[in-house]
């Protein structure tokens, strides 16, 4: 919640002191940051009558000097260049520059030099350099996400840019929270270690003055971990509302583009918004499983039909007056009901077409329960099943390989061959590449609960007790990490501190940053953990929000680059 509030606060401050008609100029990243927390109608209330992108602003030659320009952009060198051009030929009456992160001195000098007409009224830094989608979940929406899987030698400048972007994002989060954290990282990940060290350098050396906030009893904790420690969660099919929408259709900046599924009737909404802030039904149901959602939607539709019936039954003048009064509410309700009904209908169709009930049951077994032989049989059956899509087959084999990497190599090989023969578009060696990246040797966490005796016992107990819902058995590894932090038992061996940082006791605020991306299943886990009021507030962030399609894409891209790199050597 606090991140959403901080971003909204920043935007309010930007717009509040400037009176008159304004134009808001954003870049391709800040447009997501702003759109997800601020609505168009709120902008209109603040007299912002035009919103433009910094790329297109220089194309038009119309002079609009009756408007005041409010720029909110990232301080990248490209943006600075575009600004220079625009300041040389100012189109607007006033120019107020707000940057979403720290400006370098050189950049300020460049801007000052190019401001010949003295068109700039103010330059400020407002640290809203992340996309705050949910109360305890943020993302950086990074495009080239796959770089974290490659060793530094392959593309050093690319990896440096990647790391810089992540460090900037994390810095912005802590500047928005006005805290300076103690930093820990996952030992087995070079990328995580590098990011943790560079963040520490920024916060404690380069800009130590800026980060020198009021000290409280316990510093917050920043934990930088790697996606590859838990490759299972992004591969699984999801059955809770928000995660399911992202997995089956795709959720970008809290928007769903229904064109991806095709076959929509003419008057149906093409794009819809799923935001827990603005949609009470979604807020109540975003972490519920599919069966419960169906029932709740049915109840909502029944309620709506009651209201619609009473609206049609207009007898007296009072009824008429009441109808006119309640019409906006009625229209809003109608839109909301139709949105959720459409989403659930489309998802049901996809579940049916791809036989996901069947596939997901095997997936969950692979992720949670033992029995190599039975697992092999199940996976082989599904590989032979014609209705199962190529991507689902790939996921099944990957999950099997991650689990039974060392057991029965012969059968594993057989599965690889069967997959290659069944799926024409399968890029050979992708599963092996995954194992090289995230195999049992690379992982430090106890992903399947079969290393630690305690975990084995816990699993057996769970198996005997039986599960409430077969499809939502899986707990992401993150859940265990959060439990360890809550108990104060996060092992130094696995998650060392940066430099000479140290933390006494438990932190009260923890930001977990996952290099490589988070998933909505993990964000749900965090939200539920926070709801237990354990005294610790967790915030989760990542370089992107993954679903299985995105994770596979990143793997393929990394594999392609790794291959071409090895050819060059």
């Amino acid at each position: 919640m606090v991140l959403v509030t901080s971003v909204r606060d920043y935007i309010n401050r930007m717009l509040h002191d400037i009176s008159g008609m304004k134009v808001l100029i954003l870049d391709s990243q800040t447009v997501s940051n702003v759109s997800i927390v601020y609505s168009q109608s709120e902008l209109l209330q603040k007299e912002v009558f035009l919103v433009e992108m910094i790329d297109s602003i220089s194309v038009s030659k119309e002079s609009m000097s009756h408007l005041k320009a409010v720029y909110f952009i990232r301080p990248t060198s490209e943006n600075i260049q575009k600004l220079r051009y625009q300041l040389a030929n100012p189109r607007f009456g006033e120019h107020h520059l707000f940057f979403s992160n720290l400006l370098k001195d050189t950049q300020i000098h460049i801007l000052a030099d190019s401001d010949e007409h003295e068109a700039v009224q103010q330059v400020q830094e407002f640290y809203a350099d992340f996309v705050a989608g949910d109360p305890y979940h943020f993302t950086l929406n990074m495009a080239s996400n796959h770089l974290y899987m490659l060793p530094a030698v392959v593309d050093p400048s690319g990896l440096q840019r990647y790391s810089d972007r992540v460090v900037d994002g994390i810095a912005a989060v802590f500047l928005a929270l006005k805290r300076r954290p103690v930093i820990r990282y996952q030992r087995t990940s070079d990328t995580a270690k590098r990011i943790a060290q560079e963040t520490a350098k920024l916060m404690y050396q380069h800009e130590s003055g800026l980060f020198d906030f009021r000290r409280t009893e316990s510093s917050p904790l920043l934990l930088v971990i790697d996606r590859r420690d838990d490759p299972v969660t992004p591969l699984l099919n999801q059955w809770t509302y928000q995660a399911m929408v992202h997995e089956l259709i795709g959720l970008q900046d809290n928007k769903v583009d229904l064109r991806a599924i095709g076959s929509l009737s003419k008057d149906q909404q093409v794009e819809v918004v799923l935001s827990s802030e603005q949609d009470a039904f979604f807020k109540a149901n975003m972490y519920e499983n599919f069966g419960d959602i169906g029932m709740n939607i049915k109840r909502m539709v029944d309620d709506f039909q009651q209201v619609a019936k009473s609206n049609q039954n207009i007898q007296t003048v009072e009824d008429m007056a009441r109808f006119v009064d309640n019409y906006p509410e009625y229209k809003k309700m109608q839109g909301n009901v139709s949105k959720h009904v459409t989403l659930v209908t489309e998802m049901s169709k996809l579940v049916e077409a791809r036989k996901l009930m069947l596939v997901s049951q095997t997936e969950q077994d692979l992720a949670c329960n033992g029995g190599q032989g039975a697992a092999y049989e199940a996976v082989t059956d599904l590989l032979n099943n014609e209705s199962v899509s190529d991507m689902d087959r790939l996921r099944l084999v990957m999950l099997y390989a991650l689990r039974y990497e060392k057991e029965n190599p012969v059968q594993l090989m057989q599965l690889f061959n069967k997959l290659a023969s069944r799926s024409p578009k399968y890029k050979p060696g992708l599963v092996q590449f995954l194992l090289k990246q995230a195999g049992v040797e690379k992982r430090s966490g106890d992903l399947f609960g079969n290393r630690d005796l305690m975990n084995i016992a816990r699993n057996m107990a769970r198996g005997l007790k039986g599960v409430e819902n077969v499809y939502t058995q899986h707990q992401p590894l993150l859940f265990q990490t959060m439990e360890s932090i809550t108990r104060g038992r996060l092992r130094d061996v696995d998650y060392p501190f940066v430099g000479d940082h140290f933390q006494q006791g438990r932190p009260q605020e923890v930001v977990i940053f996952m290099v490589g991306g988070t998933t909505y299943e993990e964000s749900r886990s965090v939200a539920l953990q926070n709801a237990t009021n354990s005294g610790i507030r967790f915030i989760l962030g990542g370089t992107a929000v993954l679903n299985s399609k995105r994770f596979l894409m990143d793997l393929e891209e990394a594999q392609r680059i790794a291959r071409s790199g090895s050819h060059m050597v």
Binding site: S39, E118, K255, V273, D325
Partner: protein
């Protein structure tokens, strides 16, 4: 300086409700070469004409708001028990309501004038200004509806109470009468009762008529406005969606223009014209040759 087109109110009113900064000076855009040295602060250019219309509308909205406050007070006064027949209170309420409704209608008509065609930046600004004013108008209309309905409700309650009181009085006096004088007194009481209920029903009808009229008018205004007002929480309320739409309409417009240019250039017309010109030229040459050789 811009001419004030609304000759209705004083200029002072306009300054306090202007969309633009009241302290800004509208220096005219100079047409001469500014020369080498920079002049310091950028002179603000003249805003486009439609800004005047939007200012007028916001002035009217402000006026309607103050009148609504007055109406609220008048409602409260009329509901308080008084010794007179309250006719002047009624009259004041009626006139205020009419004025407000007139202002709202006028603003709504003017709002339509703000619509513009073409995918230019200026038209985006116009559309957004229009939406913002439409939202304000809609809120005002709904507020007016609510005020009216609560007033009428309270008024009805009051009349019923008063009516009951009267009925009780009549009832008790009625029972006290002797049966002998029943017929004569009966008809007298009945007559007065009928007359009273007639008066009440006539008044009721008038009230209902008023309510129906205002409901109709406001329903009309709401219908026209609902096309302009943004539904909060939907995709249309997203900043990134609006930017995309503008971009795609501009792109489409550009494509159309390019297509038009191409068809025009490669058009049959051009070919025809060139062919005809060449023919004329040939004929001219032939004519000259004919003259020379004959």
């Amino acid at each position: 300086m811009t001419e004030s087109k609304s000759g209705v109110g004083p200029v002072i009113e306009m300054a306090s409700t202007s969309l633009l900064h009241p302290k800004r000076s509208y220096a005219p855009v100079s047409t001469e070469d500014p020369g080498n040295s920079s002049k310091g602060a950028v002179t603000v250019g003249l805003p486009p004409d439609w800004v005047d219309v939007s200012e007028e509308i916001s002035v009217n909205i402000q006026r309607a708001r103050t009148k609504m406050a007055e109406l609220g007070k008048a409602h409260a006064k009329a509901l308080m028990p008084s010794f007179g027949d309250g006719k002047e209170d009624q009259h004041q309420i009626e006139s205020l309501t009419q004025e407000i409704t007139f202002l709202l209608r006028k603003s709504e008509k003017q709002l339509q004038r703000l619509s513009a065609g073409g995918p230019s930046e200026d038209s985006s600004v116009r559309k957004n200004v229009q939406r913002s004013l439409a939202t304000d108008l809609q809120h005002l209309s709904m507020e007016l509806r609510k005020k009216q309905s609560t007033y009428l409700k309270r008024l009805r309650l009051q009349k019923e109470d008063g009516g009951d009181l009267e009925m009780n009085l009549k009832g008790s006096s009625y029972r006290a009468e002797d049966d002998d004088f029943d017929d004569i007194l009966f008809s007298e009481h009945q007559m007065s009762k009928i007359k009273k209920s007639e008066a009440i029903s006539v008044e009721r009808e008038k009230e209902i008529q008023q309510v129906v009229e205002s409901v109709n008018e406001l329903a009309q205004i709401m219908k026209d406005l609902s096309a302009l007002v943004i539904d909060q929480g939907t995709i249309v309320d997203r900043i990134d969606y609006n930017i995309q739409n503008v971009a795609s309409t501009v792109e489409d417009g550009l494509k159309q223009l390019q297509k038009a240019e191409r068809t025009q250039r490669s058009g049959g017309m051009v070919k025809c014209a060139s062919v005809l010109v060449i023919l004329c030229f040939i004929m001219l040459v032939l004519l000259i040759l004919k003259e020379i050789f004959l």
